[in-house]
């Protein structure tokens, strides 16, 4: 996404900008509800709640990530990219070999913050999952007499699967920052 926004190709720039603006400014809970319930209603799906939450959170967070990266890219002096082009590197090589690695250094801190936010945001998913699960489980219990306990256990596990890797990522990012300083 960040590559789109700094690319010399206008349609890619527009795509990148639209994506970022759309998902960065929409409230997460609305996006979440839209995906989880809206799509099912529209006959697309039904996807599992877990998959929908992952999709929404990734889209949402990636919009912020893209902006953070773009800021990082802009801090890498234009002279660096120019020198790369001058020795004959192509545009993708210039980004991948010269610009991104340097941009990454300047954005590790902000990205750490983003992942922390991601964890917090996943709690929105949990609120919705409670809503949905209670509805679903009531339904299940009513219609088929299934016990709700395993269903809630499943939800807890799903939540952990969502948060634990994020926690590891934050740790990883923080280690990187500490190396740099």
């Amino acid at each position: 996404m960040a590559a789109c926004r700094v690319s010399p190709v206008p349609p890619l720039q527009w795509f990148g900008a639209t994506y970022v603006e759309l998902f960065r400014n929409a409230p997460l809970s609305v996006l979440m509800l839209l995906f989880v319930f809206g799509l099912t209603k529209a006959g697309v799906g039904p996807y599992s709640f877990f998959a929908s939450a992952i999709v929404v959170l990734s889209i949402y967070t990636s919009a912020f990530l893209a902006e953070t990266f773009r800021a990082g890219i802009n801090t890498v002096a234009a002279g660096q990219a120019e020198a790369a082009r001058a020795i004959g590197l192509t545009f993708p090589q210039t980004l991948g070999i010269v610009v991104f690695p340097q941009a990454l250094r300047t954005v590790v801190g902000p990205i750490g913050n983003l992942f922390i936010a991601l964890i917090k945001n996943s709690s929105i998913a949990s609120v919705i999952s409670v809503l949905e699960l209670s509805k679903r489980s009531n339904l299940l219990i009513d219609q088929q007499g299934v016990s709700p306990i395993p269903v809630f256990l499943g939800a807890a596990v799903a939540y952990l699967i969502l948060t634990l890797p994020s926690g590891f990522l934050v740790g990883y990012v923080e280690r990187k920052v500490s190396i740099k300083r």
Binding site: G79, Q80, A86, I87, G88, I97
Partner: protein, 248 residues
């Protein structure tokens, strides 16, 4: 060396928006020739360098290098650019790479040279510019003069047909200017490199350049030998300009 045209600019015009920065530039640079470009600030000297390897596109005219017209942005252009070395006022070494990596990057990624061979060649070049002992250092650990010599080695590593220098010494402390100019003189005189050099260093122009190109307001006003240009410039604008830079 035969007087064979290597870089040919014909009717080159460039605008930045409404600003006409290059006006009908006609200039032919022969193989092995050293041309010094001089002129007041904003006259288009940097832009002239930048259009020769098409870091900036032109709106009118043609530029050929060794008989090949510069293509549009893309893979082909990248390949052609590799044949044109460029040295910047602000060095622009890759800050996250060591000196050696700075010099080997182009040969490995663009020329597809093996790592071992690229490193060998790089060390030879670093010796030539007198900085082999710093091969493992990062740019930030080097002085300006040392960084600029690395930048010259980085450009040379691509085995370019022509080298462009955009005010290579004007960001340097006085005591480091000579070490860079010496490397450039060596390139011009011993290696017979074709060079376009934007500089106000008259000593360099006198000893290395065959022609001086004087630019003002985006146009070439005068082309003359260094002796003639510095002692007896034809155009009033050149006289005016020289009296100003000679004043301090």
């Amino acid at each position: 060396m035969a007087d064979e045209a290597l870089v040919v600019l014909q009717g080159v015009n460039k605008w930045f928006g409404d600003l006409h920065v290059l006006r009908d530039i006609d200039l032919t640079i022969d193989r092995g020739e050293v041309v010094v470009v001089i002129g007041p600030s904003g006259s288009g000297k940097s832009t002239l360098c930048r259009v020769i390897n098409r870091l900036e596109p032109i709106q009118k005219g043609t530029i050929t290098i060794d008989g090949v017209a510069l293509p549009e942005e893309g893979k082909e252009l990248a390949r052609l650019r590799a044949d044109v070395g460029m040295v910047f006022q602000s060095f622009n070494l890759f800050a996250h790479k060591t000196v050696l990596q700075n010099v080997t990057l182009g040969p490995i990624k663009v020329r597809k040279t093996s790592k071992a061979q690229a490193a060998d060649q790089a060390m030879t070049l670093l010796e030539r510019v007198g900085i082999a002992d710093k091969a493992k250092r990062y740019p930030a650990e080097l002085s300006g003069g040392q960084q600029q010599r690395v930048a010259i080695a980085r450009a040379l590593a691509m085995d370019p047909k022509v080298m462009l220098f955009d005010e290579p010494t004007s960001a340097l402390d006085p005591e480091m200017i000579k070490e860079v100019l010496d490397v450039m003189l060596d390139l011009a005189q011993d290696a017979g490199m074709t060079m376009v050099v934007v500089t106000h260093e008259m000593g360099f122009a006198r000893s290395a350049a065959r022609r001086v190109v004087f630019m003002d307001q985006g146009a070439i006003v005068e082309i003359a030998s260094p002796e003639q240009f510095f002692s007896n410039p034809e155009s009033e604008r050149a006289q005016d300009f020289l009296s100003k830079i000679l004043a301090h």
